[in-house]
């Protein structure tokens, strides 16, 4: 069976755009906080020039707030860099735990906008496989987007990568509304195209409120 390159390309570009827009929004927020805190420092120097005493504690607070935002901005840009480099090679060794961590970080703002908490459950073993990293991230995002919509009143989605006997699995759990059966059009054609390209399968465990992506081959320890 041949891959649907047109759909994969269109879906990938939409995903890349969505993530890039979200990252730029986050960076703008970081810059806005730095801007206000730098402005406050400027205000304090103007006050000092007028002979008003400056409380050193205020200066310390401002400096630490700016440093906190620099660290936050650095984390965001590090994630963006990893994300951007995921298109470098069509096939590469990828660690599922790392990829899930990156996707949880990149999706953090979308989750927060929907009032959903993402819980990344640590895996006891390393789960790596040879795969297309960009397609993998795209598939995780589409499943996560769907999972957030099924989180129900608990408003939590747990994510975990697991090694299986014949491959690997990504579990999205705590999906309280999956049992109701109304999953709309999911999995849409684009999800199916990505599953095919990654040689993966999708399983909906409605009884336990879980969604699984299983990778049947090329998973390594």
């Amino acid at each position: 069976m041949s891959w649907n390159w047109e759909l994969l390309g269109e879906t990938g570009l939409q995903f890349f755009g969505k993530m890039s827009a979200s990252i730029s929004h986050e960076i703008k927020n970081v810059m806005a906080i730095i801007n206000e805190n730098a402005g406050l420092l400027e205000d304090l120097t103007v006050m000092a020039e007028k002979g008003l005493p400056i409380d050193p504690e205020r200066l310390k607070t401002q400096a630490s707030r700016i440093m906190k935002q620099i660290r936050r901005g650095d984390d965001i840009l590090r994630g963006m860099n990893r994300f951007a480099h995921s298109v470098d090679d069509p096939l590469r060794q990828a660690d599922l735990n790392d990829t899930l961590g990156l996707m949880a970080a990149l999706s953090g703002r979308f989750a927060s906008m929907r009032g959903v908490t993402l819980e990344l459950e640590p895996s006891s073993a390393q789960v790596s496989m040879i795969t297309n990293p960009f397609f993998l991230q795209n598939l995780i995002w589409l499943c996560l987007d769907f999972a957030m919509g099924c989180s129900g009143p608990g408003k939590t989605v747990a994510l975990k990568a697991e090694r299986m006997e014949n491959g690997a699995r990504i579990r999205f759990s705590k999906l309280q509304e999956l049992a109701t059966g109304n999953t709309g059009s999911f999995p849409e054609e684009r999800v199916k195209a990505l599953l095919q390209a990654l040689n993966a399968d999708l399983l909906m465990d409605r009884e336990h409120g879980e969604l699984h992506i299983t990778f049947s081959s090329r998973a390594e320890g």
Binding site: S24, H25, K28, N29, A32, I33, E36, G39, S112
Partner: protein, 142 residues
Amino acid sequence: MSDKVLLVDDEEDFLEAMATRMKDRGMEVSTTTSATDALKKVEQGAYDAVVLDLMMPEMDGLEVLKAMKEKRPELQIILLTGYATVQKGVEAMKFGAMDFIEKPADLKVLTEKIHQARAQKLVLVEKKIQEKVKRMIQEKAW
């Protein structure tokens, strides 16, 4: 009398720094990180201007704007956003936003807009009072 401003943003560090700077400039500032709390505050207090982040958890900024305008049509709302698209800007103005500013904002520009907001609100309130008085006179038919 000082300008009474409500700042609404989900970034606490941003709110704190901006509120301090506005207070240092003589404004009376209230803050909240929650859209629902902002709606409550608008119902309870008479603000000259609301500075509202477009991207809020719980409710979309445009929804908050609409709800605020329904509660208090004379309220002047300035939208702040990390990314301004023309489409969002047009939508915001259609829903009655007074202005649309991109982050990071220049406090001087924002302060000017807040002064303008207060003046516009006063005009609207005055107009409302005049209409009310006119209606009363017509109804009584003295």
